[in-house]
Amino acid sequence: MANKEKLVVVGNGMAGMRTVEELLQIAPDKFDITVFGSEPYGNYNRILLSPVLAGEKTINDIMLNDVQWYTDNHITLHTGETVTEIDRKNCIVKTDKGTSARYDRLLIATGSNPFIIPIPGHDLPGVITFRDIHDVDLMLEAAQTKKHAVVIGGGLLGLEAANGLMKQGMSVTVVHLMDWLMERQMDEVSGAMLKKSLSEKGMQFMLRASTKEVVGKGKVEGVKFADGTTLAADIVVMAVGIRPNIDLAKKIGLHCERGIVVNDTMQTYDPKIYSVGECVQHRGQTYGLVAPLFEMAKVCANHLAAYGIGMYRGSVTSTKLKVTGIDLFSAGNFTGDEHSEDIVVRDAGRGIYKKVVLKDGRIIGSVLYGDTVDGAWYFQLMREQTNVTDIRDKLMFGQAHLGDSGHGGNVVANMSDATEICGCNGVCKGTIVNAITSKGLFTLEDVRLHTKASSSCGSCTGLVEQILETVLGGDYSAPEAKPMCGCTEHTHEVVREAIRKQKLTSIPAVMSALKWKNADGCSSCRPALNYYLLSTWPKEVSDDPQSRFINERAHANIQKDGTYSVIPRMWGGMTTPNELRAIADVADEYKLETVHVTGGQRIGLYGIKKQELPDVWKKLNDRGLVSGHAYGKALRTVKTCVGKEWCRFGTQDSTAIGIKLEQLTWGSWMPHKFKMAASGCPRNCAEATIKDFGVVCVDSGYELHVGGNGGIKVRATDLLCKVETEAEVLEYAAAFIQLYREEARYLDRTAPWIERVGLSYVKENVVDNAEKRKQLAERFKISQQENETQDDPWLMRSTEGRDQDQFKPLKVIA
């Protein structure tokens, strides 16, 4: 023991302690370690101060190494002591409390200091920074008694502070010098979307505002701007940036520029002294995020252990914002230059914006807002400088849609083992998978402990959960908590449950019982609620047309010029000369230019004006044709082949079974559209294995297939089971559909639904348990009889004169 070398660490923060942890792993007996920290705590996760301020976590939750940890690892810890002097000749450090310690190696990890704009009043009581536990305590205390907070700085830190203070009940204004928020991570469009979402949460903003003075007598009373206006404030949070904390290093004559200058082994100009963290400057760069600091820590530990391998070569960083309910990702050069090109996807309705900047076929930057699932993937492509020319057309749909036909999994299933999942701690998918399988891990907490993935900022938690899900299959149940939409905190599941349990039977009732934030909801939740109500209480609930998307309200598909398409049902893909004549007559009479044989084995008529719809329907109805529901989240088509009737290979009457399936299920509203098919033999000409429910006839009966999808992402079906009679086919179909109707989220097709709940779950309910199957099928039949489900909606609106107003102008003014 006596001949151990002495390592002294100045700074008890994230980078310093990560270095010590790494060192303990590779050379546990090499050093006697002494740590000095100004703050009176063990090492905590500074990143998570934001959730602490927002009341989502406690200080206990964010401790990384408590005092006991130091004892357990034989580390001497001096908290609440600041190192003020270092005698480099004799290798001794001294603190403000008079403690001293000798070192063979010294590690400086003093982090950075918040920058305070030196304006008049900056030192008034009530001006607070956002860096450590002390600051958070000050803010929490102020929020108890005070009302108005002004946060100066619309960057990551400022917005997280503002969000926290708002959650604590304060009214908060963010003052920002620039034209939009987080201008170093966001472009103008995504910055504006961010501002909108935060405004909806109640945050107030003053952009392009230059603060001139903090005013007040003896304490903060307001903020004065360059244009002469003032804003009242009880506290002012300065979050305008950080400066590497190099006071001590400078004092002892270490070479510093903006930070303490280190080489690729994290050594300073004094070979005995190493430095890591926000205080260093490496290859001209300083960093303010943990991912690079942890990379530094690894390299530094390696050299302290005298392994002499490992070089730090600088880092590419990405940013996420930790405000609950806001998904944002940004990396690299997202503004581009004259030689780069942008690919942009933007869906304001869903609040989604994605931009990827390409140069010479490679990603150089990206900004994602609202849907950040693919952030990790783009980041990896960017860091590895992968040429994306070949996948350019699919790039924006995300990794999940990348060319794997057949059985697709979730996003992570397609990731390579080298894909980095946790940006903060640099943990790849392979490492996590390995830890799960070799160490028998089951929970997120386990993975955090063993791999450190998801243990820092937490924004990769979703991906880690997906990996658990993929690796463990049915053994893992992810806590899913995405709210339905911005109008509520509740998930689809919670809402459905409430509708069932509390017997809610109208949209206003749901909204008031679950405290909806917007009185009328929005175009995303209202259709979902309408469906949940109808499918849960088919007898009690009446439909709300104003909560339906136009296609379902008008029973026709709106086209890009505002006209509509009409697609009558052709049962099982069968038609007759008489039906064809009826269609031809309508096409002639209304001079329709386009008559198209659809992908669903029927005929579409295009370019019909809304006013003409009832007339067109009447003419079709009169000749025996009814609505094909080509417009609905509903049963669509049942494709068939000719089967045993004609085909030399046919084993059963696939056409007849298709027609029977369609007669049983037409008119039924679903979470999303639902398609079926029946093929007469395994040659499968009706493509039954990419349908939501497919029947493949074989000599001995019928194979039933479920969960197929031929759309955006092709997924072949899973085999549900084999049955022997037609009656069974119909019963299983009804039961499967009803399970999907009752349990899937609105706008989930069967494919993603099955991937989430698992095929075995479906089998349990529909195959293994005859009683459950009968009940499901029975409930389906009941719902088909209620609410005019199987009354032709066209007939009701043409001949029977229902709902005429919507097809007529309110008035015609010449």
Partner: protein, 104 residues
Amino acid sequence: MSSWIEVGQIKDIPPLGARVVQTGQGDIAIFRNSQNEIFALRDKCPHKGGPLSQGIVSGKTVTCPLHNWKISLENGEAMGPDSGCSGVYAVKLEGEKIFLNLNK
């Protein structure tokens, strides 16, 4: 000169719904929200001309049926990051009756 034209009654439009008035200047969408307020916009989305009258109404906005832009019923402006404006017309309620002014 008064140019208020009576175009119908409030009961002719369902709450959270819309109806169209056809005019020489093109279609005008008349909206009714859940507070029984009436609004009038040119029935053409600033994005690609989608018929706003066919969208879903909530609060004081309508979501265009074609690509989901959200348009303010009060001033016809696209909300959020999108920009563009669909013209607004003056409308008023007198008792049950809706009056539209094509000159304002």
